[in-house]
């Protein structure tokens, strides 16, 4: 399975990465050869095999009970830009 520049640009858009031209060139080549290597799994017959998404053999459920959480002030203090008193993260304007 070979990968085109167009594929790489489309994936970068989905992944929210503004790649440079050099990165697009490099990743087209490198991701192509990684995909070629991993393609070997498609030679195996897996008809009827259940997929493993995790190896836990017990349910992951717990009672939905309120517990102490981090303070809003502490969390906002770790942000690049925040209005701490107002309790808000600051981001570029979204609606004109």
């Amino acid at each position: 399975m070979s990968l085109t520049r167009g594929d790489v640009l489309r994936i970068a858009e989905l992944a929210r990465l503004a790649l440079t031209d050099d990165e697009v060139t490099l990743f087209t080549k490198q991701l192509g050869s990684i995909l070629e290597y991993v393609d070997q799994i498609n030679a195996l017959d897996t008809a009827g095999v259940m997929p493993t998404s995790h190896v836990m053999n017990r349910p992951l459920d717990r009672a939905d009970e309120p517990r102490p959480v981090l303070s809003r002030r502490d969390v906002l203090a770790a942000a690049p830009e925040a209005a701490i008193e107002a309790g808000l993260f600051k981001v570029p304007r979204v609606i004109g």
Partner: protein
């Protein structure tokens, strides 16, 4: 104070609780050594002199007042820098978390502190634990104390170096595809990846959630047992932390492995393994046999698919986990024109904040989860993962543990594999299976190479049976002295300048 550096955690603990040395003296010695060696080995991202000394002094006051806090009273430890520490910068060796100071502690940090450990600093890693050499760190690679031009392995390379260089007797790492065991092997120390779910991951900066596990790096199996019994067990903050009872691993170290059935997957060793590694492994098997273990062959027919399925599943999960780094909530945000859009802010922050390997994995993971490719790659990999788990289930009907080399070669040179990501991935060929199957595995040093480089081998056990692999590793170490070898790093450090 240099003799303090050679003590194991268990011996150091005894000397502190008997009043022979104070926690402050031990901590000061560890801090001094960390500062003295870090220029040569780059093990630490940050050294917390003030916090560590303050904590040590508190512990000394408690002891003078007649008590110890817990089983690790006064013992200095280091933490991989992808574990959240309240008030102490946590970067995952990524530029995207530059300046991030977590408002909370990881559960393992809480448990270590409660047991009396003194955290002296945060160790270097491949960015977000993605790599096998620490060369993907945004802050420079760590160096192997046995040969400063070589990698200590990764991704928990800084933690392995901190222990190998006798700065601390124990450090924590995280292991998604070998990131505790591989650097332990290449640096000549012990690394334990516990069973999936054995240790809470609350506060571990997530890489691949179905694979990640936190564990200890130490010089002896007995020390790994001591750390594991402190950090293991259920946690309301992590739904994947198992409620399985935590045994006293220390008490299981009887030294007796007579009749232990050891399986060896010979087919896996048929190609691409360095002769010195095979020789070291054979000798280790003979030692185990000499102690009464019974060695036989086992088959893991799907083990050769480990690397492909690992790099499909781990990258898919990483692309999802790392979506949270978007310049809004923590760390770094790209400098932008004032009319830049939110989307531009995301894209520029992520392109400037992440390094090449992290971007490569996010891209691969996004691709294999995208419409049209999900079935051929991600779903297929999950199915082959089931086949691999079944291989282990069958093998464990016949044997108690499975032994393999930890890595195909001793430590490689820095720069040797950086241009070819696929070659770097193949360094994990013997370690990824334990993560994919959720099994506990421990790496320990065996005979070194002729060139004096450490070589590790690993023992994998049944789910939640760390007791057996720790007992086997401890029995091996009672009869060998590879784990007591120390690199003569001071003279090497001078030689390189």
């Amino acid at each position: 104070m240099s003799n303090l550096a050679d003590l194991t955690l268990v011996d150091l603990g005894k000397r502190i609780s008997s009043g022979d040395v104070t926690a402050r003296e031990v901590t000061l010695a560890a801090l001094e050594r960390a500062h003295a060696l870090n220029g040569s080995v780059n093990a630490f991202r940050a050294i917390d002199d003030d916090g560590a000394l303050k904590r040590a002094e508190e512990l000394d006051r408690t002891r003078v007042a007649g008590g110890t806090v817990g089983p690790l009273h006064g013992v200095p430890v280091a933490l991989k820098d992808n574990l959240a520490t309240r008030g102490l910068a946590t970067t995952a060796s990524s530029r995207i978390l530059a300046g991030y100071i977590p408002p909370y502690n990881a559960t393992v940090v809480e448990r270590l502190e409660k047991a009396g450990a003194v955290i002296i600093g945060k160790t270097n890693l491949d960015e977000f634990a993605m790599g096998s050499s620490t060369e993907n760190s945004a802050y420079g690679s760590s160096r192997n104390p046995w040969a400063l031009d070589r990698t200590p392995g990764g991704s928990s390379g800084g933690s392995a170096v901190a222990v190998a260089a006798r700065i601390v007797p124990a450090a924590l790492g995280s292991d998604t595809g070998g990131s505790i065991r591989q650097p332990a092997a290449l640096s000549g120390v012990v690394g334990l990846k516990p069973t999936y779910g054995r240790v809470s991951r609350y506060g571990l900066l997530a890489f691949a959630s179905s694979l990640d596990q936190i564990g200890p790096i130490t010089r002896s199996a007995a020390d790994a047992a001591r750390i594991l019994e402190v950090i293991a067990g259920a946690d309301p903050c992590d739904a994947t932390a198992s409620t399985e009872a935590v045994p006293s691993f220390t008490r299981e170290l009887t030294g007796d492995i007579r009749g232990l059935k050891v399986g060896v997957p010979r087919a896996v060793l048929s190609e691409g393994v360095d002769a010195a590694v095979l020789e070291s492994f054979q000798e280790a098997l003979s030692t185990l046999e000499g102690l009464g273990a019974v060695v036989s062959d086992v088959e893991l027919p799907h083990a050769s698919y480990g690397i492909p399925i690992y790099y499909l599943i781990a990258t898919a999960e990483a692309s999802s986990n790392l979506a949270r780094y978007d310049g809004v909530r923590y760390g770094f945000r790209a400098a932008l024109d004032k009319d830049a859009s939110l989307k531009t802010m995301y894209e520029r922050t992520r392109d400037e904040g992440f390094g090449a390997e992290v971007k490569r994995r996010i891209m691969l993971g996004t691709y294999v989860l995208s419409a049209g490719y999900y079935d051929a790659y991600y779903l297929k990999a999950q199915q082959v993962r089931t086949l691999l788990r079944q291989d282990y289930d069958r093998a464990f009907q016949r044997v108690d543990v499975i032994a393999m080399p930890t890595t195909p070669t001793p430590a490689f040179r820095l720069g040797e594999k950086t241009d070819d990501p696929l070659q770097m991935y193949l360094a994990d060929v013997f370690t990824v299976s334990a993560n994919l199957a959720g099994l506990p595995a421990i790496s320990m040093p065996g005979r070194f190479s002729c060139a004096g480089l450490p070589i590790g081998f690993q023992i994998t056990g049944r789910m939640f049976d760390e007791a057996t692999i720790l007992r086997a590793a401890d029995a091996f170490q009672r009869h060998t002295d590879w784990h007591t070898m120390a690199p003569s790093i001071e003279s090497r450090a001078v030689a390189i300048e």
